[in-house]
């Protein structure tokens, strides 16, 4: 009996070893084959262009003639000299200052209003989400017609409730406000759905316990739902930072950055520098600076989350 027991394991182990030896290389080869299209794609279309932009950002380059090394010139010019670039950065931050809080607060309010799992709510969710999937060229074209003219459609509607609207797209602060409104209107749906999912994930029992203790709807939302929702709110805020820094379509089609450069944003300017005036080296520096700014903002957000995000 003892002989059988001692004799068996070595056989098993040997079998195991031999199987692993013949099969492993083939099986890992299969793994590499499965990920090959993706990895080659990322290498060719992401990594290589990325390295190329790093290099290009230190050169003067029109895309046609060879790159001419200029060291840090592009970056120093951007940071210290380029007044238009400074204005564009300021515009982008103003845009974010208006758009992010509006988007987050409105999507939270809507999510709170229509988060009930009742089937009839699906219609309302659809209604508020639908602009998100419309292409921004169409959205911009529609809003352009709504805004344009002192007696335009929007001002007629506003006039009906006694508000005397401005000439939206051609007067200075209002053009930016117009861009913010149209853009918040379009992008509200995504954070709203994320927040609805967050609210629905909060367990019923916590809410019921508070209701039994006599807490009303509003107090329950303020002291139970809201704190438990902070991780979703954090995700929504961070993604809005990244998205709104890269606002493009609505501005490009609706205002062309005007009047003057008053609604010119980081990406519309970058697009014009690169493909309008063909300064690809300078534009490369702009795109890396954008990456650094977004990275820095994300790190700051991450640090700040300890102050307000509540993890169970």
């Amino acid at each position: 009996m003892t002989t059988v027991e001692t004799a068996r394991p070595p056989v098993d182990r040997r079998l195991g070893v031999s199987e692993r030896k013949t099969r492993r290389p083939r099986r890992s080869l299969v793994g590499y084959l499965f990920v090959a299209p993706l990895m080659i794609g990322l290498g060719v279309f992401h990594l290589y262009p990325m390295l190329l932009t790093i290099y290009a950002s230190f050169t003067k380059w029109d895309g046609l003639t060879p790159k001419h090394w200029v060291g840090l010139d592009n970056y120093t010019k951007l940071i210290t000299k380029d007044a238009l670039f400074h204005q564009v950065v300021r515009n982008t931050f103003l845009f974010m200052l208006g758009a992010i809080p509006l988007t987050v607060v409105l999507s939270l309010v809507l999510a709170a209003l229509i988060s009930s799992p009742r089937r009839s709510m699906v219609v309302y969710r659809l209604a508020f989400f639908v602009p998100y999937v419309a292409n921004s060229a169409a959205v911009a074209v529609v809003w352009f017609r709504l805004y344009s003219g002192r007696d335009g459609v929007l001002n007629t509607v506003l006039g009906a409730v006694g508000i005397h609207g401005p000439d939206w797209l051609v007067t200075s602060p209002w053009a930016l406000v117009a861009v913010i409104i149209a853009s918040v209107w379009q992008s509200l749906g995504y954070p709203m759905i994320v927040l609805i999912a967050g609210i629905q994930a909060i367990s019923e029992s916590v809410n019921e316990a508070a209701a039994i203790d006599g807490a009303g709807r509003f107090r329950r939302f303020r002291y139970i739902t809201l704190p438990l929702l902070t991780p979703s709110l954090f995700f929504v805020t961070i993604s809005q930072f990244v998205v709104s820094f890269q606002v493009f379509g609505i501005v490009y089609v609706m205002t062309h950055g005007g009047p003057g450069h008053d609604t010119d944003m980081y990406l519309t300017r970058l697009f014009n520098v690169a493909f309008g005036s063909g300064q690809l080296g300078y534009a490369s520096a702009m795109s890396w600076l954008l990456f650094l700014i977004i990275g820095a903002l994300t790190v700051v957000q991450w640090r700040l989350q300890r102050a307000w995000v509540f993890y169970e």
């Binding site: 890992s28 080869l29 299969v30 793994g31 499965f34 990920v35 299209p37 993706l38 990895m39 794609g41 990322l42 279309f45 992401h46 290589y48 990325m50 190329l52 932009t53 895309g63 009839s120 309302y124 659809l126 209604a127 508020f128 639908v130 602009p131 999937v133 419309a134 292409n135 921004s136 060229a137 074209v141 529609v142 352009f144 017609r145 709504l146 335009g152 459609v153 509607v157 995504y190 759905i193 994320v194 999912a197 979703s232 995700f235 929504v236 961070i238 890269q246 493009f248 379509g249 490009y252 089609v253 970058l270 697009f271 690169a274 690809l280 490369s284 795109s287 954008l290 990456f291 977004i294």
Partner: protein, 286 residues
């Protein structure tokens, strides 16, 4: 005395759940209709006759509905519509293939460096797309790809970071016993992938397909950068270019805008649960 009776009636009305619920729905409906005004106005205006657009520019319902605006829009749009459809198709098909192969490998196959590679894939999502676009332009020009359709589908289809992530998450949730049974029956890795995992992964595939379709259909920056010839342009660019040029009349422009939005809405409404699933899955990582 009178006041207390009135107050009592009001309290009784407010305490009635059917009344409060009706009020709640009424409020939501007003809110939703107000929110949708731009789209309702767009659709309404697309049916307005010439005089209507002048006399009642802000009305939603046309006084004299007509289809002439659609005739005008469809006179110009078909070429761009076809380009957009073709590109959406190529994007979806190839992206699904790349993402499901990679997602399966990252979820189920064992090979050295797998987790590191997956981290690299996720990490590349942190770099904003614009960082690639400028050098991509230079690279594609060297390849002779500028002013063709290749830059509008090959780069997207072969770099599906979100799609791979979603497919991997989904495949991880499928019980391993199924493949083990198939393996004992002698099935190879590819058979397991195509006969077992792909059919089970349909919901995730649908989600990825929908997001890809919307991305491709709505892409504005890509065609603006890589395509010069008008005959190769897509629908959003056509709208942007024709804002003032070919559609001098608002109604025809709105008909064109409606035509470009409707396919996306239709797809979205038919499959909205997949959208919600995708958004929830991607939003959960925080």
């Amino acid at each position: 005395m009178n006041a207390t009776i009135e107050g009592g009636a009001a309290t009784r009305l407010l305490a009635n759940p059917r009344f409060t619920r009706t009020m709640y729905y009424a409020m939501l409906t007003v809110l939703a209709l107000g929110f949708l005004f731009p789209l309702l106005w767009m659709i309404g205006t697309s049916f307005k006759s010439g005089p209507d657009t002048v006399t009642h520019p802000s009305a939603i319902f046309p006084a004299h509905p007509t289809l002439t605006n659609y005739a005008a829009a469809l006179h110009i749009l078909p070429r761009y519509l076809w380009n957009s459809v073709e590109l959406a198709f190529l994007n979806v098909v190839f992206l699904l293939a790349v993402a499901s192969l990679a997602g399966f490998a990252f979820a189920r196959l064992d090979f050295p460096g797998r987790d590191l590679l997956f981290l690299v894939v996720l990490g590349s999502a942190l770099v904003p797309g614009i960082v690639y676009l400028i050098p991509q332009y230079a690279v594609f020009r060297d390849w002779g790809w500028v002013d063709t359709h290749y830059p509008l589908w090959v780069p997207r289809a072969f770099t599906p970071v979100f799609g791979t992530f979603l497919m991997r998450q989904f495949f991880l949730g499928i019980p391993k016993e199924l493949e083990e049974a198939a393996r004992i029956d002698g099935a190879g890795v590819f058979t397991i992938f195509s006969r077992i995992m792909l059919p089970l992964g349909t919901p995730a595939l649908a989600t990825v397909a929908l997001f890809t379709f919307v991305d491709s259909w709505n892409d504005l920056l890509g065609p603006l950068i890589f395509v010069n010839s008008q005959r190769l342009q897509t629908v959003p660019v056509a709208l942007a270019l024709f804002r003032g040029l070919e559609f001098t009349n608002t109604a025809a422009l709105m008909a064109a805008a409606t035509i470009t939005i409707v396919p996306v809405f239709a797809v979205f409404i038919l499959a909205q649960r997949y959208f919600v699933m995708g958004i929830t899955l991607s939003g959960m990582k925080g």
